[in-house]
Symmetry: C2
Subunit: 223 residues, 2 copies
Protein backbone atom coordinates (compact mmCIF):
# COMPACT_ATOMS: atom_id res chain seq x y z
CA UNK A 1 0.00 0.00 0.00
CA UNK A 2 1.51 3.39 -0.91
CA UNK A 3 2.33 5.87 1.81
CA UNK A 4 1.05 9.41 1.87
CA UNK A 5 3.49 11.92 0.41
CA UNK A 6 5.26 13.98 3.07
CA UNK A 7 7.65 16.91 3.31
CA UNK A 8 11.10 15.90 4.57
CA UNK A 9 12.88 19.26 4.72
CA UNK A 10 12.61 22.92 3.74
CA UNK A 11 15.70 25.00 3.13
CA UNK A 12 16.65 28.15 1.19
CA UNK A 13 16.78 27.58 -2.56
CA UNK A 14 19.90 29.16 -4.13
CA UNK A 15 19.22 31.27 -7.22
CA UNK A 16 21.37 29.19 -9.50
CA UNK A 17 19.48 26.00 -8.56
CA UNK A 18 16.01 27.47 -9.19
CA UNK A 19 14.49 26.15 -12.40
CA UNK A 20 10.82 27.11 -12.21
CA UNK A 21 10.76 30.16 -9.96
CA UNK A 22 12.66 33.42 -9.68
CA UNK A 23 12.66 36.58 -7.64
CA UNK A 24 12.52 39.81 -9.60
CA UNK A 25 13.41 43.33 -8.47
CA UNK A 26 10.91 45.73 -9.99
CA UNK A 27 11.88 49.39 -10.03
CA UNK A 28 8.93 51.70 -10.51
CA UNK A 29 7.96 55.33 -10.19
CA UNK A 30 5.04 56.16 -7.97
CA UNK A 31 2.48 58.85 -8.80
CA UNK A 32 4.80 61.52 -7.38
CA UNK A 33 7.63 60.42 -9.65
CA UNK A 34 9.57 58.90 -6.75
CA UNK A 35 11.63 55.80 -7.61
CA UNK A 36 10.70 52.73 -5.55
CA UNK A 37 11.46 49.00 -5.43
CA UNK A 38 9.02 46.06 -5.31
CA UNK A 39 9.88 42.39 -4.94
CA UNK A 40 8.08 40.00 -7.24
CA UNK A 41 8.06 36.18 -7.23
CA UNK A 42 7.53 34.79 -10.71
CA UNK A 43 7.53 31.67 -12.84
CA UNK A 44 10.44 31.25 -15.23
CA UNK A 45 8.18 29.50 -17.72
CA UNK A 46 6.04 32.34 -19.08
CA UNK A 47 6.80 33.24 -22.69
CA UNK A 48 7.51 36.94 -23.18
CA UNK A 49 4.57 39.16 -24.05
CA UNK A 50 4.39 40.35 -27.65
CA UNK A 51 2.49 43.07 -29.45
CA UNK A 52 0.10 40.40 -30.77
CA UNK A 53 -0.32 38.77 -27.36
CA UNK A 54 0.26 41.35 -24.64
CA UNK A 55 -1.64 39.37 -22.00
CA UNK A 56 0.31 36.12 -21.69
CA UNK A 57 -1.38 33.60 -19.38
CA UNK A 58 0.57 31.14 -17.21
CA UNK A 59 -2.14 28.60 -16.68
CA UNK A 60 -5.72 27.42 -16.77
CA UNK A 61 -8.06 26.35 -14.03
CA UNK A 62 -10.83 24.12 -15.28
CA UNK A 63 -14.44 24.24 -14.09
CA UNK A 64 -15.59 20.89 -15.51
CA UNK A 65 -19.34 20.49 -15.13
CA UNK A 66 -21.28 17.28 -15.51
CA UNK A 67 -24.72 18.68 -16.24
CA UNK A 68 -27.70 17.40 -14.32
CA UNK A 69 -30.25 15.18 -15.99
CA UNK A 70 -33.98 14.80 -15.23
CA UNK A 71 -33.16 11.71 -13.19
CA UNK A 72 -30.21 13.33 -11.36
CA UNK A 73 -30.87 17.06 -11.53
CA UNK A 74 -27.81 18.38 -9.73
CA UNK A 75 -24.95 19.57 -11.89
CA UNK A 76 -21.63 18.30 -10.51
CA UNK A 77 -18.15 19.83 -10.57
CA UNK A 78 -14.96 17.77 -10.99
CA UNK A 79 -12.34 18.30 -8.26
CA UNK A 80 -9.00 16.72 -7.43
CA UNK A 81 -7.00 16.00 -4.31
CA UNK A 82 -3.34 16.78 -4.94
CA UNK A 83 -0.37 16.77 -2.58
CA UNK A 84 1.36 20.15 -2.75
CA UNK A 85 4.89 20.21 -1.32
CA UNK A 86 4.83 24.01 -0.98
CA UNK A 87 1.83 23.71 1.35
CA UNK A 88 2.95 20.42 2.89
CA UNK A 89 -0.59 19.06 2.65
CA UNK A 90 -3.05 17.63 0.19
CA UNK A 91 -5.03 20.41 -1.46
CA UNK A 92 -8.56 20.38 -2.87
CA UNK A 93 -8.24 21.97 -6.30
CA UNK A 94 -9.80 22.46 -9.67
CA UNK A 95 -8.01 20.50 -12.39
CA UNK A 96 -5.38 22.92 -13.68
CA UNK A 97 -2.13 23.25 -15.54
CA UNK A 98 0.24 25.50 -17.38
CA UNK A 99 -0.52 26.47 -20.96
CA UNK A 100 1.99 24.95 -23.39
CA UNK A 101 3.74 27.15 -25.97
CA UNK A 102 1.50 27.63 -28.99
CA UNK A 103 -1.54 26.19 -27.22
CA UNK A 104 -4.77 28.11 -26.62
CA UNK A 105 -6.26 28.21 -23.13
CA UNK A 106 -9.20 26.16 -24.42
CA UNK A 107 -6.88 23.46 -25.77
CA UNK A 108 -4.89 23.45 -22.55
CA UNK A 109 -8.08 23.06 -20.50
CA UNK A 110 -9.38 20.05 -22.43
CA UNK A 111 -5.91 18.45 -22.40
CA UNK A 112 -5.22 19.00 -18.72
CA UNK A 113 -8.69 17.81 -17.73
CA UNK A 114 -8.13 14.57 -19.58
CA UNK A 115 -4.60 14.08 -18.24
CA UNK A 116 -5.39 14.89 -14.61
CA UNK A 117 -8.87 13.38 -14.27
CA UNK A 118 -9.53 11.12 -17.26
CA UNK A 119 -12.67 13.08 -18.10
CA UNK A 120 -13.24 13.93 -21.76
CA UNK A 121 -15.03 17.24 -22.27
CA UNK A 122 -15.54 20.14 -24.59
CA UNK A 123 -15.30 23.84 -23.86
CA UNK A 124 -18.66 25.16 -22.77
CA UNK A 125 -20.49 27.04 -25.51
CA UNK A 126 -23.06 28.77 -23.37
CA UNK A 127 -25.57 30.50 -25.59
CA UNK A 128 -25.71 33.45 -23.23
CA UNK A 129 -22.78 35.84 -22.94
CA UNK A 130 -20.17 33.21 -22.24
CA UNK A 131 -18.47 32.56 -18.95
CA UNK A 132 -15.62 30.83 -20.76
CA UNK A 133 -12.84 31.71 -20.67
CA UNK A 134 -12.83 34.00 -17.66
CA UNK A 135 -10.89 37.20 -17.68
CA UNK A 136 -7.18 36.88 -17.02
CA UNK A 137 -7.02 36.73 -13.22
CA UNK A 138 -3.93 37.56 -11.15
CA UNK A 139 -3.48 34.95 -8.42
CA UNK A 140 -1.67 37.14 -5.87
CA UNK A 141 -0.75 40.51 -7.38
CA UNK A 142 0.89 41.86 -4.23
CA UNK A 143 3.33 38.95 -4.38
CA UNK A 144 3.96 38.18 -8.05
CA UNK A 145 2.63 38.27 -11.59
CA UNK A 146 1.21 34.71 -11.81
CA UNK A 147 -2.06 34.63 -13.68
CA UNK A 148 -4.66 32.25 -15.05
CA UNK A 149 -7.91 31.98 -16.90
CA UNK A 150 -10.80 29.79 -15.79
CA UNK A 151 -12.15 27.66 -18.63
CA UNK A 152 -15.58 26.02 -18.36
CA UNK A 153 -15.72 22.54 -19.81
CA UNK A 154 -18.89 20.49 -20.31
CA UNK A 155 -18.49 16.81 -19.49
CA UNK A 156 -21.08 14.37 -20.85
CA UNK A 157 -21.64 12.01 -17.95
CA UNK A 158 -23.30 9.47 -20.29
CA UNK A 159 -20.25 9.23 -22.61
CA UNK A 160 -18.75 5.79 -22.07
CA UNK A 161 -15.27 7.29 -21.85
CA UNK A 162 -16.35 9.22 -18.75
CA UNK A 163 -17.72 6.31 -16.75
CA UNK A 164 -15.90 5.15 -13.64
CA UNK A 165 -13.53 2.38 -14.60
CA UNK A 166 -13.01 3.75 -18.12
CA UNK A 167 -11.24 6.93 -17.12
CA UNK A 168 -7.45 6.80 -17.27
CA UNK A 169 -5.19 9.43 -15.77
CA UNK A 170 -2.05 10.42 -17.69
CA UNK A 171 -0.02 12.17 -15.02
CA UNK A 172 3.27 13.80 -15.79
CA UNK A 173 6.36 12.95 -13.77
CA UNK A 174 6.02 14.56 -10.35
CA UNK A 175 2.27 15.24 -10.53
CA UNK A 176 0.68 14.04 -7.33
CA UNK A 177 -3.04 13.74 -8.00
CA UNK A 178 -4.32 11.40 -5.32
CA UNK A 179 -8.02 11.33 -6.11
CA UNK A 180 -10.56 12.64 -8.60
CA UNK A 181 -14.09 13.22 -7.34
CA UNK A 182 -17.26 15.14 -8.14
CA UNK A 183 -19.44 17.31 -5.94
CA UNK A 184 -22.94 18.65 -6.61
CA UNK A 185 -22.54 22.38 -7.20
CA UNK A 186 -25.22 23.01 -4.59
CA UNK A 187 -23.00 21.28 -2.01
CA UNK A 188 -19.66 22.84 -2.96
CA UNK A 189 -19.62 25.29 -0.04
CA UNK A 190 -20.43 22.74 2.68
CA UNK A 191 -18.18 20.13 1.07
CA UNK A 192 -15.19 22.50 1.23
CA UNK A 193 -15.90 23.13 4.93
CA UNK A 194 -16.12 19.40 5.59
CA UNK A 195 -12.90 18.62 3.72
CA UNK A 196 -11.06 21.40 5.58
CA UNK A 197 -12.24 19.85 8.85
CA UNK A 198 -10.78 16.56 7.66
CA UNK A 199 -7.36 18.20 7.24
CA UNK A 200 -7.28 19.08 3.55
CA UNK A 201 -6.10 22.50 2.43
CA UNK A 202 -8.42 24.38 0.07
CA UNK A 203 -7.24 26.08 -3.11
CA UNK A 204 -8.38 29.69 -3.45
CA UNK A 205 -10.18 29.15 -6.78
CA UNK A 206 -12.32 26.34 -5.42
CA UNK A 207 -12.97 28.17 -2.17
CA UNK A 208 -13.74 31.51 -3.77
CA UNK A 209 -16.10 30.02 -6.38
CA UNK A 210 -17.93 28.38 -3.47
CA UNK A 211 -18.04 31.69 -1.60
CA UNK A 212 -19.35 33.47 -4.69
CA UNK A 213 -22.12 30.94 -5.20
CA UNK A 214 -23.06 31.24 -1.53
CA UNK A 215 -22.97 35.06 -1.74
CA UNK A 216 -25.38 34.97 -4.64
CA UNK A 217 -27.91 33.21 -2.44
CA UNK A 218 -27.43 35.48 0.54
CA UNK A 219 -26.89 38.95 -0.84
CA UNK A 220 -28.95 39.08 -4.00
CA UNK A 221 -32.30 38.48 -2.29
CA UNK A 222 -33.25 42.11 -2.06
CA UNK A 223 -33.52 42.27 -5.84
CA UNK B 1 -1.57 66.56 -11.52
CA UNK B 2 0.13 63.33 -10.45
CA UNK B 3 1.41 60.90 -13.06
CA UNK B 4 0.37 57.30 -13.23
CA UNK B 5 2.80 54.92 -11.54
CA UNK B 6 4.93 52.99 -14.02
CA UNK B 7 7.51 50.22 -14.03
CA UNK B 8 10.99 51.43 -14.96
CA UNK B 9 12.95 48.16 -14.91
CA UNK B 10 12.82 44.49 -13.97
CA UNK B 11 15.95 42.59 -13.05
CA UNK B 12 16.89 39.51 -11.02
CA UNK B 13 16.63 40.09 -7.28
CA UNK B 14 19.67 38.72 -5.42
CA UNK B 15 18.86 36.56 -2.40
CA UNK B 16 20.62 38.77 0.07
CA UNK B 17 18.63 41.82 -1.05
CA UNK B 18 15.23 40.12 -0.75
CA UNK B 19 13.33 41.34 2.29
CA UNK B 20 9.76 40.15 1.77
CA UNK B 21 10.08 37.12 -0.49
CA UNK B 22 12.19 33.99 -0.56
CA UNK B 23 12.60 30.83 -2.59
CA UNK B 24 12.45 27.60 -0.64
CA UNK B 25 13.66 24.14 -1.68
CA UNK B 26 11.17 21.59 -0.38
CA UNK B 27 12.35 18.00 -0.24
CA UNK B 28 9.51 15.51 -0.05
CA UNK B 29 8.78 11.83 -0.45
CA UNK B 30 6.13 10.83 -2.92
CA UNK B 31 3.68 7.98 -2.36
CA UNK B 32 6.28 5.45 -3.53
CA UNK B 33 8.81 6.71 -0.99
CA UNK B 34 10.91 8.38 -3.68
CA UNK B 35 12.71 11.58 -2.64
CA UNK B 36 11.81 14.59 -4.78
CA UNK B 37 12.34 18.35 -4.87
CA UNK B 38 9.77 21.15 -5.24
CA UNK B 39 10.45 24.86 -5.53
CA UNK B 40 8.28 27.15 -3.42
CA UNK B 41 8.04 30.95 -3.43
CA UNK B 42 7.07 32.31 -0.04
CA UNK B 43 6.69 35.40 2.08
CA UNK B 44 9.32 36.00 4.73
CA UNK B 45 6.75 37.60 6.99
CA UNK B 46 4.66 34.64 8.15
CA UNK B 47 5.11 33.78 11.83
CA UNK B 48 5.98 30.11 12.41
CA UNK B 49 3.11 27.72 12.99
CA UNK B 50 2.67 26.51 16.56
CA UNK B 51 0.77 23.66 18.17
CA UNK B 52 -1.90 26.18 19.25
CA UNK B 53 -2.07 27.81 15.80
CA UNK B 54 -1.08 25.26 13.13
CA UNK B 55 -2.84 27.15 10.34
CA UNK B 56 -1.09 30.51 10.21
CA UNK B 57 -2.66 32.93 7.75
CA UNK B 58 -0.68 35.51 5.78
CA UNK B 59 -3.47 37.89 4.96
CA UNK B 60 -7.10 38.86 4.72
CA UNK B 61 -9.22 39.80 1.76
CA UNK B 62 -12.23 41.87 2.72
CA UNK B 63 -15.68 41.53 1.19
CA UNK B 64 -17.17 44.78 2.48
CA UNK B 65 -20.87 44.97 1.74
CA UNK B 66 -23.03 48.08 1.93
CA UNK B 67 -26.44 46.47 2.31
CA UNK B 68 -29.28 47.56 0.12
CA UNK B 69 -32.12 49.62 1.52
CA UNK B 70 -35.77 49.76 0.41
CA UNK B 71 -34.96 52.91 -1.55
CA UNK B 72 -31.75 51.50 -3.07
CA UNK B 73 -32.21 47.73 -2.96
CA UNK B 74 -28.89 46.60 -4.47
CA UNK B 75 -26.19 45.58 -2.02
CA UNK B 76 -22.83 47.03 -3.07
CA UNK B 77 -19.29 45.72 -2.67
CA UNK B 78 -16.29 47.97 -1.96
CA UNK B 79 -13.39 47.60 -4.42
CA UNK B 80 -10.08 49.37 -4.93
CA UNK B 81 -7.83 50.22 -7.84
CA UNK B 82 -4.22 49.66 -6.84
CA UNK B 83 -1.04 49.85 -8.92
CA UNK B 84 0.87 46.58 -8.59
CA UNK B 85 4.51 46.73 -9.67
CA UNK B 86 4.70 42.93 -10.01
CA UNK B 87 1.93 43.08 -12.62
CA UNK B 88 2.99 46.43 -14.05
CA UNK B 89 -0.62 47.57 -14.15
CA UNK B 90 -3.39 48.84 -11.94
CA UNK B 91 -5.34 45.93 -10.48
CA UNK B 92 -8.99 45.76 -9.41
CA UNK B 93 -8.90 44.17 -5.96
CA UNK B 94 -10.75 43.60 -2.76
CA UNK B 95 -9.36 45.63 0.10
CA UNK B 96 -6.73 43.37 1.66
CA UNK B 97 -3.68 43.22 3.82
CA UNK B 98 -1.34 41.13 5.89
CA UNK B 99 -2.39 40.11 9.40
CA UNK B 100 -0.22 41.75 12.05
CA UNK B 101 1.41 39.67 14.80
CA UNK B 102 -1.09 39.04 17.59
CA UNK B 103 -4.01 40.30 15.51
CA UNK B 104 -7.06 38.20 14.60
CA UNK B 105 -8.20 38.02 11.00
CA UNK B 106 -11.37 39.89 12.00
CA UNK B 107 -9.36 42.71 13.55
CA UNK B 108 -7.06 42.85 10.53
CA UNK B 109 -10.05 43.07 8.19
CA UNK B 110 -11.71 45.97 9.98
CA UNK B 111 -8.36 47.80 10.29
CA UNK B 112 -7.28 47.27 6.68
CA UNK B 113 -10.70 48.26 5.34
CA UNK B 114 -10.51 51.52 7.26
CA UNK B 115 -6.92 52.24 6.25
CA UNK B 116 -7.30 51.41 2.56
CA UNK B 117 -10.82 52.68 1.88
CA UNK B 118 -11.90 54.92 4.78
CA UNK B 119 -14.98 52.74 5.32
CA UNK B 120 -15.85 51.87 8.90
CA UNK B 121 -17.48 48.46 9.27
CA UNK B 122 -18.02 45.53 11.53
CA UNK B 123 -17.51 41.86 10.84
CA UNK B 124 -20.67 40.35 9.44
CA UNK B 125 -22.65 38.37 12.00
CA UNK B 126 -24.87 36.50 9.62
CA UNK B 127 -27.49 34.62 11.61
CA UNK B 128 -27.22 31.66 9.24
CA UNK B 129 -24.15 29.43 9.22
CA UNK B 130 -21.64 32.22 8.80
CA UNK B 131 -19.68 32.97 5.67
CA UNK B 132 -17.11 34.85 7.74
CA UNK B 133 -14.28 34.13 7.91
CA UNK B 134 -13.85 31.85 4.93
CA UNK B 135 -11.75 28.77 5.13
CA UNK B 136 -8.02 29.31 4.83
CA UNK B 137 -7.49 29.49 1.07
CA UNK B 138 -4.17 28.86 -0.69
CA UNK B 139 -3.62 31.50 -3.37
CA UNK B 140 -1.45 29.43 -5.73
CA UNK B 141 -0.48 26.09 -4.12
CA UNK B 142 1.55 24.87 -7.10
CA UNK B 143 3.77 27.92 -6.71
CA UNK B 144 4.00 28.71 -3.00
CA UNK B 145 2.33 28.56 0.39
CA UNK B 146 0.69 32.01 0.46
CA UNK B 147 -2.74 31.90 2.01
CA UNK B 148 -5.59 34.10 3.12
CA UNK B 149 -9.01 34.18 4.65
CA UNK B 150 -11.90 36.19 3.26
CA UNK B 151 -13.65 38.24 5.95
CA UNK B 152 -17.12 39.66 5.32
CA UNK B 153 -17.62 43.13 6.76
CA UNK B 154 -20.93 44.98 6.95
CA UNK B 155 -20.66 48.69 6.16
CA UNK B 156 -23.50 50.96 7.25
CA UNK B 157 -23.94 53.29 4.32
CA UNK B 158 -25.95 55.72 6.47
CA UNK B 159 -23.17 56.14 9.07
CA UNK B 160 -21.83 59.68 8.68
CA UNK B 161 -18.25 58.39 8.78
CA UNK B 162 -18.92 56.40 5.61
CA UNK B 163 -20.24 59.24 3.48
CA UNK B 164 -18.22 60.52 0.56
CA UNK B 165 -16.10 63.40 1.74
CA UNK B 166 -15.87 62.08 5.29
CA UNK B 167 -13.83 58.97 4.46
CA UNK B 168 -10.08 59.32 5.00
CA UNK B 169 -7.53 56.84 3.73
CA UNK B 170 -4.54 56.05 5.95
CA UNK B 171 -2.17 54.45 3.49
CA UNK B 172 1.13 53.02 4.58
CA UNK B 173 4.36 54.06 2.86
CA UNK B 174 4.44 52.46 -0.57
CA UNK B 175 0.74 51.54 -0.75
CA UNK B 176 -0.60 52.64 -4.09
CA UNK B 177 -4.39 52.72 -3.78
CA UNK B 178 -5.55 54.98 -6.59
CA UNK B 179 -9.30 54.82 -6.16
CA UNK B 180 -11.99 53.36 -3.92
CA UNK B 181 -15.34 52.57 -5.51
CA UNK B 182 -18.44 50.46 -5.02
CA UNK B 183 -20.27 48.18 -7.43
CA UNK B 184 -23.74 46.64 -7.09
CA UNK B 185 -23.17 42.92 -6.46
CA UNK B 186 -25.54 42.14 -9.31
CA UNK B 187 -23.19 44.02 -11.67
CA UNK B 188 -19.88 42.64 -10.39
CA UNK B 189 -19.40 40.22 -13.29
CA UNK B 190 -20.11 42.72 -16.07
CA UNK B 191 -18.17 45.44 -14.27
CA UNK B 192 -15.04 43.24 -14.13
CA UNK B 193 -15.37 42.61 -17.87
CA UNK B 194 -15.73 46.32 -18.57
CA UNK B 195 -12.76 47.28 -16.39
CA UNK B 196 -10.59 44.61 -18.06
CA UNK B 197 -11.54 46.09 -21.43
CA UNK B 198 -10.40 49.47 -20.11
CA UNK B 199 -6.96 48.02 -19.36
CA UNK B 200 -7.18 47.15 -15.69
CA UNK B 201 -5.91 43.80 -14.44
CA UNK B 202 -8.33 41.78 -12.32
CA UNK B 203 -7.37 40.14 -9.04
CA UNK B 204 -8.33 36.47 -8.79
CA UNK B 205 -10.46 36.89 -5.66
CA UNK B 206 -12.62 39.58 -7.22
CA UNK B 207 -12.86 37.73 -10.52
CA UNK B 208 -13.58 34.35 -8.97
CA UNK B 209 -16.26 35.69 -6.63
CA UNK B 210 -17.90 37.22 -9.70
CA UNK B 211 -17.62 33.91 -11.57
CA UNK B 212 -19.12 32.06 -8.61
CA UNK B 213 -22.07 34.41 -8.38
CA UNK B 214 -22.64 34.05 -12.12
CA UNK B 215 -22.33 30.26 -11.90
CA UNK B 216 -25.03 30.19 -9.23
CA UNK B 217 -27.42 31.81 -11.67
CA UNK B 218 -26.52 29.59 -14.61
CA UNK B 219 -25.92 26.14 -13.17
CA UNK B 220 -28.27 25.87 -10.21
CA UNK B 221 -31.47 26.29 -12.23
CA UNK B 222 -32.17 22.59 -12.52
CA UNK B 223 -32.78 22.40 -8.79
Amino acid sequence: MPNLPRVVSREPLPHDEAKWTKLVKVTYEDADGKSRIWESAERTTRPPATAEQPDVVDGVDIVAIIRGTPGAPDSRIVLIKQFRPAVGRTVIELPAGLVDAGESVDEAAVRELREETGYVGRVSADTEASLSPSLTLYADPGFGNNNLQIVYVDVDGADARNLDGNRRLQLEEGELVQAVFTVPLTDLFVTCRRLANEGYAIDARVGTLAEGMEMAGRYLRLK
